[in-house]
């Protein structure tokens, strides 16, 4: 669609701009809305958000490097250091790496400044699908994370992108994932007060998102998906996330029964 825009002579990725918008909206929601439900300083929430942001970027990049290690090694062996640099820095990010990085960033902040990690975690969970929903629109603009060839209703044809197959109708995986994430966010938003102080919000997110991602992975058309025993890396992580969600629900229900 529109992978890049030029601002003051600098080529800037549309994805980066959408990510920036997503960061700002998510920060505002976390600091001014979700933190209201807990006895926590807004400043701490903001700092924790910054730590989570750093963790998110580093985690997403590390998982990307891990998945693309063979390609990066090939670049090094072939002496193509410029290509390796571009792949490494501008190549991409992997959502699940970002998710675990975010949690790690929050944990580091909580441990360093002696703040309840659980509280920070409960505030962060509903913001994740909101951030993801907006960022996925950036994927659509960039033309990455594209779908398989599809000629039915809602198919999209990319004309100007370095990533997707040009001129072929494709399944709009980015837009569908964005819409699903927004629905997940709305569900978490509505149920947030009810599930306050419990892991139910987290469990709900784990279950809903893992199902969404697992299904959508079958419609993804990008070539390198990091396939392990017939399933992509993200599908394996989705299975783990789903199991975590179920365990959390069982644990929460058990706690309620015990009380």
């Amino acid at each position: 669609m529109h992978p890049y825009v030029t601002i003051f002579g600098h080529i800037i990725g549309s994805y980066a701009i959408m990510s920036f918008i997503a960061i700002v909206i998510s920060a505002l929601m976390a600091v001014f809305f979700f933190s209201k439900f807990y006895n926590i300083n807004k400043e701490d929430v903001f700092y924790a958000f910054l730590f989570a942001l750093i963790g998110c970027f580093l985690g997403a990049k590390l998982l990307y490097i891990f998945i693309n290690l063979p390609i990066l090694i090939q670049y090094i062996l072939a002496g193509k250091f410029n290509d390796m640099y571009l792949s490494l820095i501008r190549g991409g990010l992997v959502f699940y790496g970002g998710l675990f990085g975010t949690i790690f960033g929050l944990w580091i902040y909580a441990k360093t400044f002696n703040i309840s990690f659980k509280t920070l975690f409960f505030i962060a969970v509903p913001v994740i699908p909101l951030f993801h929903s907006i960022a996925r629109i950036g994927c659509f603009l960039a033309g990455c994370c594209y779908g398989i060839e599809y000629h039915g209703f809602g198919s999209v044809i990319f004309q100007k992108t370095p990533y997707a197959r040009i001129g072929i109708p494709l399944f709009p995986t980015q837009l569908i994932e964005s819409a699903c994430n927004m629905i997940i966010f709305l569900i978490l938003f509505i149920t947030y007060k009810k599930f306050k102080g419990t892991f139910k919000t987290c469990a709900l997110y784990c279950i809903l998102y893992s199902i969404t991602r697992f299904t959508l992975e079958f419609f993804r058309g990008d070539v390198e998906r990091g396939i392990i025993i017939g399933l992509s890396t993200s599908q394996w992580i989705s299975i783990i996330l789903f199991i975590i969600g179920i365990i959390l629900i069982i644990k929460e229900n058990k706690t309620v029964t015990d009380k």
Binding site: G13, Y15, L50, I67, N82, G92, F95, Y163
Partner: protein, 85 residues
Amino acid sequence: MAVGSLVLGIVGIVFSFIFQPIGLICSIVGLILSIVARKKEPSGMATAGLVCSIIGLVLNLILVIACGACIGAAGAGASWLNSIS
């Protein structure tokens, strides 16, 4: 610590226009330092460091991230970026 965060924040902003990976590292370190400084003893210098580091981080991230959340497509992206630069 507050002075360090301010210096790193400014360096981060400057390097965002020259070489983003270094700018990114400076901004991240500056941000952490400024938060630690503000938590220990809030001062104008630490606040300035925090603001500069946030601006540096945002600028570097925006200029570094070409495409996100996607696995693969690195080769295509790299050669395309090579062809336009």
